[in-house]
């Protein structure tokens, strides 16, 4: 059974690895945006060094990490939910439900494969170019990198769980576009993609840091920058894993509610 999901994950990886020109184009765009935001952050941190608890190299690392993880953690959505909600809309979902595999695990495996490809294909090059052009605060210790990768993995699972909920909403809404757009807005704002969540003022900042989206960028970034070590690191993992479990659980509930009422279109 584990082998099946490994094969699905490998398929997800290969599927996205097929589009080489699109990957190159994406890397180019990520890099251009990385430069733009890096200059904006430089201007900001020149006036206020130590803003949000980061010095300038740390802030710039945050910028390039955001570009590197944008696709990996699917902060703006995408990856599979459009396809899944389309299958729900057209009724193809009935075929999926007949398969001797769990619906949620099936799509999770595929998405993990996709994320692995995006981390390598869309993440490494912008990060390397950013490190060439700017002074970044990348950790020297391999353990910090390992800790970071674990945090990214948890972030991808949280991201998947959120997008799975969004896709399943198509059972009730038929057209998933509205829900996907809402999810995109939330992801963009609360992941820390616009600005580190530590810069969000007062209550807004506290709420933003407690929401699941902070698992996608803010938490992995803090792990990479060495802001969370020891018990604090365990706390970060617990935060991400807690949201992952809660949201995956919600997905299962929604899935069983949906499959009980599913009426396949087309007779």
């Amino acid at each position: 059974m584990v082998r099946l999901y490994a094969v699905v994950a490998a398929g997800g990886f290969r599927r996205h690895a097929t589009y080489r020109a699109a990957t190159a184009a994406g890397v180019f765009t990520n890099t251009v945006f990385g430069f733009i935001v890096a200059y904006a952050y430089t201007a900001l941190w020149d006036v206020r060094p130590q803003l949000g608890g980061y010095d300038k190299p740390e802030a710039l690392t945050y910028v390039w990490l955001g570009q590197a993880l944008l696709m990996t953690c699917a902060m703006l959505g995408g990856g599979f939910e459009e396809e899944l909600s389309e299958r729900i809309r057209t009724g193809d979902i009935a075929v999926d439900l007949y398969r001797p595999a769990d619906l949620q695990l099936w799509w999770l495996s595929g998405d993990l494969g996709r994320a692995a490809f995006h981390l390598l294909g869309r993440g490494v090059v912008p990060m390397a170019l950013g490190a060439l052009a700017f002074e970044l605060a990348l950790p020297a210790s391999p353990w910090t990198w390992l800790a970071f990768l674990v945090s990214v993995l948890l972030g991808v699972v949280v991201s998947f769980a959120l997008r799975f909920l969004v896709a399943l909403s198509a059972f009730w809404l038929m057209d998933g576009a509205g829900a996907m757009q809402m999810a995109m807005l939330a992801g963009m704002f609360f992941s820390g993609m616009l600005l580190p969540l530590t810069l969000f003022p007062g209550l807004l900042g506290e709420v933003a840091r407690a929401l699941p989206w902070s698992s996608l960028l803010q938490v992995p970034a803090d792990v990479l920058l060495g802001k969370r070590t020891g018990w604090d690191l365990a706390g970060a993992y617990a935060f991400q894993a807690g949201w992952a479990v809660a949201l995956l659980g919600a997905g299962r509930l929604l899935q069983s509610a949906a499959t009980r009422r599913v009426v396949v279109q087309g007779g």
């Binding site: 699109a22 190159a24 184009a25 251009v32 733009i36 904006a40 201007a43 900001l44």
Partner: protein, 294 residues
């Protein structure tokens, strides 16, 4: 009324060949008219789902507003960015966002060209008696992009209400001039990017770097960027003429590069040049197009 207009568009143009130069102009008019018809059709189709239209327009408004929210969050911590105050940046932002919003509304759909080349549906457009560019630009016309224009205009309104500008007639004229020429410059970038997709169908994201990336650059003052980037945005992809140069003239501030003051009045000329080049690129791409044949 629509049916009548459709019939007229299909009629042959008498005497179109009789005078040199007239052919080009009539083709342009024909293209504009066809564009209008296709856009009207998509608008009717959009309005069939009114709630969906309202929601997606609102979404478009919010997404684009996040750019300005980011700047406001930055200004929660500082009084000036690159030596510019929030209202000054709002003027840069409002003018470039409105200009970009207009061109995104009118030409943004051209970035679907690569998809049409890939799945072979471009061939359908080629056999219709309407200029291909007009069809591609009007394809799936997205009225929801009014959200971005509204957002840009609101920020522009905030800037004009809070800034203390020494208005002269030239400065007043400059505002509509820069927004319209800026929209034209961005439109040329969209078309050039679409032409590139004839050769690289999967590379539509490269275009985003120049269009969405370009408007993001223009939202910040030129002083925060490296000189090389400012030179590139001035002389290579002349986006500086969308808002930086004319807006700094309105604000009475110096451009980081040594340029004479009259350069601020060049946006319409630059827009014309950009369209000339984009048109050439488009023709080259269209001529080079080979259908998948499958």
């Amino acid at each position: 009324m629509e049916a009548g207009a459709g019939r007229r568009a299909g009629e042959p143009e008498p005497a179109a060949w009789s005078r040199p130069g007239f052919d080009d102009r009539s083709r342009l008019l024909e293209g504009v008219r066809a564009y209008g018809l296709i856009v009207a059709m998509w608008m009717r189709s959009t309005m069939a789902y009114r709630a969906s239209f309202v929601m997606t327009t609102l979404g478009n408004f919010v997404v684009t507003a996040f750019d300005f929210v980011t700047i406001m969050l930055m200004f929660a911590h500082v009084d000036a960015l690159g030596g510019y105050t929030l209202p000054e940046i709002a003027l840069l932002y409002g003018t470039s966002a409105t200009a970009f919003g207009l061109s995104d509304l009118l030409f943004g759909s051209v970035d679907r060209l690569g998809r049409r080349v890939r799945d072979g549906t471009l061939d359908t457009l080629l056999v219709r008696p309407v200029p291909v560019l007009a069809q591609v630009a009007a394809d799936r016309f997205a009225l929801r992009r009014l959200g971005r224009i509204t957002q840009g205009l609101l920020v522009l309104g905030y800037a004009l209400a809070t800034l203390d500008i020494a208005w002269t007639p030239l400065r007043v004229v400059m505002l509509p001039l820069m927004v319209l020429s800026g929209a034209a410059i961005f439109g040329a970038v969209f078309v050039a990017g679409a032409a590139f997709q004839f050769f690289a169908q999967d590379a539509s994201e490269v275009q985003n770097a120049f269009t969405y990336g370009g408007t993001t650059v223009l939202q910040y003052p030129p002083t925060i960027f490296a000189k090389e980037l400012v030179r590139g945005v001035t002389f290579v992809v002349p986006l500086a003429f969308v808002s930086w140069l004319p807006a700094l003239y309105v604000l009475g501030r110096d451009y980081p590069l040594e340029l004479p003051e009259w350069v601020a009045f060049l946006p319409p000329v630059v827009a014309g040049l950009c369209w000339l080049l984009a048109g050439l690129a488009w023709r080259t791409g269209l001529r080079a197009y080979r259908s998948t044949g499958s």
